[in-house]
C-alpha cells in the first residue's frame, strides 16, 4: 500500500533523511520511534508533501501512485492523512465549515456529489455523539478549544 524506497530528504541544506526503506501493507499499524531530531516529523511532512523539504533521492509509492508527483491536496484526497502535532489556527473559519469543505473535496475527487450543509451537520452530530464530543465545538474556529 505504501512503499518507501531509499528515501533521502533535506531542509535548508541539512540532510535529515538518509535512505529510508519502509513497506506498509493494508491493515497494518506501524509506529515510528526515535529520539528528538531523528527525522520522524520530517518523514511525515515529506509524505504529506510539505514544500520546504527537498527530496534528494528515492521514491514513494502509495497505492501504485508516485506520491512525489502529487500536490499535497491530492495526496490528502488519495487518503493520506497527517495528524498535526501543533494544528494551526484559522480565525473566523468554523470547524463545521472547514470539515464540510474538506469532506466535499474528497467526495468530488472520488466522483461523488457534494453534500449540503444541513446533511453534513447531521453526519457530524452523529459522529460527535459516537466519540462523546461536545457539540459546542461545531461553531468554534479551527481548531481552537
Amino acid at each position: 500500500m505504501l512503499e518507501i524506497k531509499d528515501l533521502s530528504a533535506s531542509i535548508e541544506g541539512n540532510k535529515i533523511l538518509k535512505g529510508i526503506d519502509l513497506k506498509v501493507n493494508p491493515g497494518e499499524i506501524h509506529a515510528i520511534m526515535g529520539p528528538n531530531g531523528s527525522g520522524k516529523s520530517t518523514l511525515a511532512n515529506v509524505l504529506a508533501g510539505r514544500e520546504e523539504y527537498e527530496i534528494t533521492g528515492g521514491s514513494i509509492l502509495f497505492e501504485d501512485n508516485d506520491l512525489l508527483e502529487l500536490d499535497p491536496e491530492d495526496r490528502a484526497r488519495e487518503g493520506l492523512f497527517l495528524a498535526f502535532q501543533y494544528p494551526v489556527e484559522i480565525p473566523g473559519v468554523s470547524n463545521s465549515y472547514f470539515l464540510k469543505t474538506a469532506y466535499n473535496e474528497k467526495r468530488k475527487y472520488q466522483g461523488m456529489e457534494e453534500i449540503d450543509a444541513a446533511d453534513f451537520l447531521m453526519i457530524m452530530k452523529e459522529k460527535m455523539k459516537l466519540v462523546e464530543m461536545d457539540q459546542a465545538l461545531i461553531n468554534r474556529p479551527v481548531p481552537m478549544g
Partner: protein, 481 residues
C-alpha cells in the same frame, strides 16, 4: 518557500470580471468646468433657483481650494478641465416601466447579475438603478409610498420634494466641506434620495447599483437619507464599472441624518475597475460619506467592502450629537496589484454617553498599499463617551504594504477608548494544513481571507454578504469562478 509565495501572489491576480462597455448614445456636456457648464447642467435638469445658487456657491468655494495631499496615495495630477461633468443615456420619453428601458441597458444589468425585473419579485429589493448619471428605473416605489417612504433619484427629489432637499442638502456635508465634496456639490448629476417618516420601519432593503459608463465622464453622485424619529432604514450600495484605460474620477457625497431613536444602516460593496496589474487605468474613488445622529438614541452604522478602484479615499463618519447615540463602522478593504487605499472613519463624539465601534480589516496583495486612517474625537461635553477600535491588516506576499494611522483626540476625562491592532500574513502553515485536508491552495487562501473578514461580513444584509464573499474570492482567485 519562494514558490509557495509566488503561488499565493499569482492567485491574488485575476482579470477584472466586469470589463466591457455598453454601446449607448450618451448626451454629454462639453469637457471642462466653469459657471456656464454648471448653469447648463442645472437647466438640463430643470432645477429650481435654490439648487443653482447652491451649486454656484460651491463652485466659487472650490476654485479657492487646493486638492488635499495628506492621504498615503499617489496619482498624476487631475486636469479638471478635461472632464465631462454630465452624461445621461439619451432618452426619447419618460419611462414608466421596465419595458421602456433601453434593452441594451437592461442587458448590461444582466451581465452584472442584477436582473431588475427578477430582483423586484424574488429578492424583495427595491432597486434605484443609476446608469451613468440618470436613474432609469425605480421599483417598488408604490409599495414604499404607501408607508410614506420616499425613495427616488435625487433629480426627482429636487422636482417633487424641494422643501426636504432644501432643508437637508448640505446639512451634514456642507458645500464647502472639502475639495472633492465642493466639486461634487457644484456638479453632481444625480443620486438617490430616501426619506423615512416618523415611526416607520422600512420593510425592505433599499438598494442602488451605480455604474460608470461613458468614457471620460466623472461620476458625481449625491445621496441623502433622512430618517425621522423612531424610524429604521437599511440601504445597500453596490458598484461595478467597465474596463477603461483612462482614469475615471468619482467624487461622491453621501449624507445621512438620523433623528431621535432612528437607525440608519448603510452598506456598500464597491468593485470598480482597479486598473491592470501595471497600474494603468482604474477608478479614482474620492468619496465623502458622513452621517449625523442628530438627537438622542440615534444610530448610524456603516459597513463597507471595498475591493475595487485604483485609488480609494474614503472615510465614512458619524457625528454623535444626540445623547446616547451610537456610531458603527465595519470595513473590509482589499487591495491588489498597484491599488491604493486610504480609508477609515471618523467618530465625533459630542453628546453624553455616546458610543462608537470600529472594526477595520485591511487585506493587501501584489504591490498594493492599504492604509487605515481613523479619528476618534471626544469633545469636552461628551461625558462617558466610549469607543472601541480594532484595526487588522493581512498581508499576502512580500511586496505590499499595510499602514495604520489612528488619531485619538480626547477632551473629556470620563471617556473610555480602546484600540486594538494586529498585522498578520497568510501563513504557509495554515495553507499546508488546509492542503493536507484536501483543500487546494486557491480555496485555502479564499477560506482564510473570508474567515478573517467574518466580523464585517456578518454585519452585511444576507444577500450582500454572499456577494461580498464571492467578490473577495474572485479578487483572490486565479480563475474566474
Amino acid at each position: 518557500m519562494s514558490t509557495e509565495l509566488e503561488k499565493i501572489e499569482s492567485l491574488a491576480k485575476k482579470e477584472y470580471k466586469y470589463g466591457w462597455t455598453t454601446d449607448i448614445e450618451s448626451d454629454s456636456l462639453p469637457l471642462g468646468l466653469n459657471e456656464d457648464i454648471i448653469k447648463a447642467l442645472s437647466a438640463k435638469k430643470n432645477e429650481p433657483e435654490f439648487m443653482l445658487s447652491w451649486r454656484l456657491k460651491a463652485f466659487k468655494r472650490w476654485q479657492q481650494m487646493e486638492e488635499p495631499n495628506w492621504a498615503k496615495v499617489n496619482y498624476p495630477k487631475i486636469d479638471y478641465q478635461k472632464i465631462s461633468y454630465y452624461s445621461a443615456p439619451k432618452k426619447k420619453k419618460k419611462l414608466k416601466s421596465l419595458d421602456e428601458v433601453d434593452p441594451e441597458l437592461l442587458r448590461t444589468y444582466e451581465k452584472l447579475g442584477i436582473p431588475l425585473a427578477e430582483q423586484e419579485k424574488l429578492a424583495g429589493v427595491a432597486v434605484d438603478a443609476v446608469f451613468d448619471s440618470v436613474s432609469v428605473a425605480t421599483t417598488f416605489k408604490d409599495k414604499l409610498s404607501e408607508l410614506g417612504i420616499i425613495f427616488c433619484s435625487f433629480s426627482e427629489a429636487v422636482q417633487n420634494h424641494p422643501d426636504l432637499v432644501k432643508k437637508y442638502l448640505g446639512s451634514v456635508v456642507p458645500a464647502t466641506d472639502n475639495f472633492f465634496a465642493s466639486l461634487n456639490s457644484a456638479v453632481f448629476s444625480d443620486g438617490s434620495f430616501v426619506y423615512v417618516p416618523k415611526g416607520v420601519r422600512c420593510p425592505m432593503e433599499l438598494s442602488t447599483y451605480f455604474r460608470i459608463n461613458a468614457a471620460d465622464t466623472g461620476q458625481f453622485e449625491r445621496t441623502l437619507i433622512v430618517a425621522e424619529e423612531g424610524s429604521y432604514v437599511s440601504y445597500l450600495e453596490g458598484c461595478t464599472a467597465p474596463m477603461r484605460d483612462e482614469n475615471q474620477l468619482h467624487a461622491a457625497v453621501v449624507e445621512l441624518v438620523a433623528h431621535k431613536d432612528a437607525e440608519i444602516k448603510y452598506s456598500t460593496v464597491q468593485n470598480w475597475y482597479p486598473g491592470d496589474s501595471e497600474g494603468n487605468g482604474g477608478i479614482y474613488n474620492f468619496v465623502t460619506k458622513r452621517g449625523i445622529c442628530k438627537e438622542e438614541n440615534a444610530k448610524i452604522s456603516w459597513t463597507q467592502v471595498e475591493t475595487g478602484s485604483a485609488i480609494t479615499w474614503k472615510y465614512p463618519s458619524v457625528i454623535l450629537k444626540g445623547d446616547n447615540s451610537i456610531g458603527e463602522f465595519y470595513s473590509v478593504a482589499m487591495t491588489n496589484n498597484m491599488q491604493q487605499a486610504d480609508t477609515g472613519t471618523k467618530m465625533i463624539h459630542l453628546g453624553k454617553n455616546t458610543k462608537s465601534n470600529i472594526v477595520s480589516k485591511g487585506i493587501s496583495a501584489g504591490k498594493s498599499n492599504n492604509s487605515y486612517r481613523g479619528l476618534v474625537k471626544i469633545s469636552k461635553h461628551a461625558e462617558h463617551a466610549r469607543n472601541f477600535s480594532q484595526c487588522d491588516s493581512l498581508l499576502i506576499g512580500d511586496k505590499c504594504g499595510a499602514h495604520t494611522f489612528p488619531y485619538i483626540d480626547v477632551h473629556n476625562t470620563s471617556a473610555q477608548i480602546e484600540h486594538e491592532a494586529t498585522t498578520s500574513k497568510i501563513g504557509e502553515d495554515q495553507i499546508f494544513y488546509l492542503n493536507q485536508r484536501g483543500i487546494s491552495t486557491e480555496d485555502a487562501v479564499s477560506m482564510i481571507v473570508n474567515g478573517y473578514c467574518k466580523e464585517v461580513f456578518r454585519e452585511l444584509p444576507m444577500e450582500f454578504a454572499v456577494e461580498a464573499q464571492n467578490l473577495l474570492s474572485l479578487s483572490l482567485e486565479g480563475s474566474v469562478g
